[in-house]
Symmetry: C2
Subunit: 407 residues, 2 copies
């Protein structure tokens, strides 16, 4: 597997565009579009929040049906959630505008929105923007990068990644972009993620791969414990790589899955590292748990602990908060058997073992916690299963951003 440049336009046959439609932000692009020359089989996973944005309902219907997908149109600034019938009608109107310009049906067009909940989209601006997007589609890395920038809200960096693998003698590329910084606690998948591939693969296997991999990647990220109304992750596959169609769970399927996993894991980590106000990517690795589910619950409990997150921000090796978070996770374990350490910048310090705190060097621990990437490693000595979760520290800046988001 090779890591290559680019994102959604890395795979064959995908183009992208972006424009400033003036939805919320001044002087920056806030709409983006991804287009595939050939219609794509698709798979999508969406928020488990009962309150689902109108665009989630629209996309869910399309990706679970038999329509092939040619385009995705995204806007930043307004989420089109809690917007009733009107919100749904606006999804259709947007898809129709793209469909007419590109000569496909509205049922081939996905729409996605991110931003403030409860406001109606300025539909005239959206339709005008869609027109511009359709007229300015371009292939090549930079068009994809521009699209990944246009969908940002409180994100501080754009997020994209691409890899290539060999399948049946053909180079297959998988690339993606995503956005997300606050209201991030994906449950089915994250804020907005779009992955494109030129792999030839049947829809049912694409769906299977996506659903399996999302539980170990996007669903293991939390910035603030708030599961959004808009979480959407879509994969589009246009078959232009020319590989023999993957129609069973053979070696080719496994190769494709590895590439897809890498793209999903990388994007998920990028979201955690760019959590609102974050100064550090916090990784929690639970090893030697009894079951995979237990390992996941334990790891996520720490990632969601405000107190742990604030301690990481303060470079304070307050490991009691981590053990406390394991303790209230609902999982059963023997605290006396847990070994707990911090890892960062190539150093490791053991904080707790045999039921009590070690006599560790506070100076070394603080030094480790000052890295931009900090790992909590917890060995439960109960079995052989492990899991990793990703989050970030809780900072003054997080509070500032969210105390004054709308105004």
């Amino acid at each position: 597997m090779n890591i290559i440049e680019g994102g959604v336009t890395a795979a064959k046959g995908f183009k992208a565009s972006s424009c400033a439609a003036g939805i919320k932000y001044e002087g920056r692009p806030d709409m983006a579009m991804v287009w595939s020359e050939e219609p794509c089989v698709s798979a999508g996973v969406y928020t488990s929040n009962l309150v689902k944005a109108a665009c989630v309902l629209w996309d869910k219907k399309l990706t679970s049906g038999s329509s092939k997908i040619s385009a995705v149109v995204v806007n930043a600034g307004i989420a089109n959630a809690c917007t009733g019938e009107q919100g749904l009608a606006f999804c259709e109107e947007t898809a129709k505008a793209v469909g007419e310009a590109m000569n496909v049906s509205e049922e081939n067009v996905l729409v996605a929105s991110t931003g403030v909940i409860g406001k109606q989209l300025p539909i005239e601006k959206i339709v005008n923007g869609a027109g511009v997007l359709c007229a300015t589609l371009e292939g090549g890395i930079s068009a994809g990068t521009a699209a990944s920038k246009a969908i940002m809200t409180t994100d501080t960096v754009n997020k994209e990644v691409a890899v290539s693998v060999e399948i049946g003698g053909h180079t297959v590329t998988v690339g993606g972009m995503c956005k997300g910084s606050g209201m991030i606690h994906p449950n089915m998948c994250t804020m907005l993620g779009f992955i494109t591939t030129d792999c030839a693969i049947e829809k049912n296997l694409l769906r299977k791969a996506l659903s399996e991999l999302v539980t170990d990647t996007f669903n293991m990220v939390s910035v603030d414990g708030d599961t959004s109304t808009n979480d959407t992750l879509v994969v589009l596959a246009n078959a232009l790589a020319g590989n023999p169609v993957i129609d069973k769970e053979n070696e080719d399927y496994e190769t494709f899955k590895k590439a897809l996993f890498f793209v999903m894991e990388t994007l998920a980590k990028k979201i955690a590292a760019d959590g609102e106000g974050a100064t550090a990517l916090l990784t929690v690795k639970v090893v030697n748990a009894k079951t995979k589910a237990q390992a996941k619950t334990l790891a996520k409990s720490v990632i969601c602990s405000n107190l742990t997150k604030a301690a990481v921000y303060g470079h304070d090796a307050n490991w009691g908060r981590i053990l406390c978070a394991f303790g209230y996770s609902g999982e059963v374990f023997d605290p006396d058997k847990v070994t707990l350490s911090f890892i960062g910048g190539g150093e490791e310090v053991i904080l707790f073992e045999n039921g009590t705190g070690t006599d560790f060097s506070e100076e070394k621990a603080t030094h480790i916690l000052s890295n931009k990437e900090v790992t909590v490693l917890a060995d439960f000595h109960m079995g052989t299963e492990s899991a990793t979760a990703w989050g970030c520290d809780l900072t003054h800046e997080y509070v500032s951003i969210n105390a004054d988001y709308r105004s």
Copy 2:
């Protein structure tokens, strides 16, 4: 029912003391003791965290057994959690020191600790402090108030309340104190709470009343979603009021329960209002839910939402975050039927009804959110059950406090 002055020493026969044992803080009392002239029947509820502090294990054993309780000794600064066998031995040593000085068995002495997890108690200082506490016990309101101050950690105000009711022609008093500000998400009960009463009541009924009432009071509070290792709530009843012993669920039992409920609810709200860094008490009232359990889950989901809490801090009427938090609670409801409003300072503003946001006055909403007590009222129009949860806003100060707690 009359609200009266005082706290743990309001009921007949209870004395208290406090002293500066030098455990963590300089120049302020950090140990407290409550003593009853007559041995008490007791009931206790404790943290559901699997990682339980040594003192929780000690108290749980005593209050679930048949020993009567004469004393409670509390220290602030170190939590005696994650301290292994040594920690348990220190509980016994402390109880023994008090027992010897007061001429009771160590099995009549509860101990409680609050503070940093993972450090061993400075047992010499604790035992010396216990000696001072035993020698300086006093009746009267001010001794109880001093005790409620000595158990504070990041609390900014001490917390106590007392009421009296008439039972069988006798005045029965119920009073209590508690502490708690961070790591507050009680599940069985809160950080540390001590309630004393001179009511004559059988142990099994005291336990029943406590367990029932804790689910509607302390367990409906959250400051930060982190369930502590030390949560302890104990009620001591010494029978000195002279009322006919309450030995069945009759009218007297109901009267006592009302008094106990008031004390517990008041203490619970005081903890929420004094959440670390808080500038406002946030109350979430869910009405007309299908079941009581559903109403509770919905209310708690909002109380725990970082995004909602940060919006309240910023006086930003970002109601979409509230609907989002209801949506990810796991409960099933029809978002289109929810009516949502903010109440504060005698004003109310409806934010959401019939599936979309109302055209509310931002100015009025901001004005309401500027109060020190803000209520979110959500009518689900599904049934007749309701629930209330209490929390606070998420502030810069919360992050400051917790980024630098130990040092």
